[in-house]
């Protein structure tokens, strides 16, 4: 929306018609916070999740379409060459990191609403909140980008515990230049997920206990840690200081870190890679079942 405004409307001195929907329905709200790519229609994706088309109606004061079952609709226009201060806001990484900033403004021309409207909301900050859709779609986009470049990805996850700033990637096979290839795709040009955890595919990337286990037990503090200078990040990253933010603003400079929690390529399966010890890996299936059966009969009564 900002690109359309800055590229087309503002240079022509024209106000840009907009509508803000409060309470569009839970799946539409999730899709609204999801990155689906330029030229694609979010409402089609919302319809896919609902398994039926989202019914749309025209606004009262402009030609934009909004969900017919919306609770509240604000109609208006973004004004060219007008900026007003806003914020500071808490944001998706879980902190309020910046002061007020001067941003484009819009004028509300009409408000329509359902009788006794209901607004569902989650407070922004640490925890799932509004980042569920974005984390899911970013993980899918990262997986697609890596697969397109022939990188043998098994699974990708942006766990909600990582607040959108960390990604876990598992691999089907070891390759010597894996870190360099990952850095090229995810850090050098657009480091929007600045902490990257690489794991073998015996680690379930959707299970944070497994991920922490791999990080602590398999990532060498020196050989497994790779600091990558790159471009692009979020101003909202809580650990940035003023100098970091200035560098990001002026040159786009940023930094990422890759934690390589995979067993090294040169390690032999027979001699070097440690054997994982756990209930599931140290005993036969039959033994496990006997223990589980007894457990339920004797101790869980």
């Amino acid at each position: 929306l900002a690109t359309i405004f800055r590229k087309y409307y503002e240079p022509a001195g024209k106000p840009m018609p907009v509508a803000m929907v409060l309470g569009p329905g839970p799946l539409s709200a999730m899709i609204a916070g999801t990155v689906i790519g330029y030229g694609l229609n979010e409402v089609d994706y919302a319809g896919g999740l609902y398994q039926q088309p989202v019914e749309l109606v025209k606004c009262e004061t402009n030609d934009l379409l909004v969900p017919a079952n919306a609770e509240i609709v604000l109609e208006g226009e973004v004004l060219p060459n007008v900026r007003i201060p806003e914020g500071p806001f808490g944001e998706f990484p879980g902190y309020r990191t910046q002061s007020i900033s001067v941003q484009p403004a819009w004028r509300i021309n009409a408000i329509t609403f359902r009788t006794n409207p209901i607004i569902g909301m989650t407070p922004e900050g640490i925890g799932p909140g509004g980042k569920v859709g974005a984390s899911l779609s970013n993980a899918i986009n990262i997986k697609k980008a890596l697969l397109r470049r022939g990188i043998p990805v098994a699974d990708v996850s942006i766990p909600l515990e990582m607040e959108g700033l960390g990604v876990v990637i598992s691999f089907k096979q070891h390759e010597a230049d894996l870190v360099d290839r990952i850095a090229e795709v995810l850090c050098k040009r657009r480091a929007h997920v600045p902490k990257i955890f690489l794991v073998d595919d015996d680690i379930d990337v959707f299970d944070m206990r497994e991920v922490m286990h791999a990080f602590i037990d398999r990532c060498h503090p020196v050989r497994g840690t790779h600091i990558i200078d790159g471009k692009g990040s979020f101003m909202l990253v809580p650990y940035f200081d003023r100098v970091d933010r200035q560098k990001l603003r002026t040159d786009g400079d940023s930094v990422s870190i890759i934690y390589d929690c995979t067993w090294p390529v040169g390690w032999s399966e027979e001699r070097d890679i440690p054997v994982r010890m756990s209930f599931k890996t140290s005993f036969s299936q039959a033994m496990q079942q006997r223990v589980l059966d007894k457990w339920e009969k004797r101790w869980l009564k």
Partner: protein, 84 residues
Amino acid sequence: MKKEYVAFVDDLEKFLEPPEQELYIQSLTPGQRKYEIRFVRAKVVTPPEELPEADALFIKSPVGKLYPQTFAIKVLEELGEFAT
């Protein structure tokens, strides 16, 4: 009745050095146009007793933490709309 405003200030000590300041202030006074934001040249003092007729000003840090001091503000000039 005195009005109340809030402002966000990066470095409070430097901000208070000159005799007058340029700043954004946001109205906290209840009314039809709540939270109206103005860009003004003003005199800001602490403690507020130094400007007994002036309005009240709360100052917050860049990340929104309220400074414990109390301030008074006397608006000297409106610096206009926020047009670029």
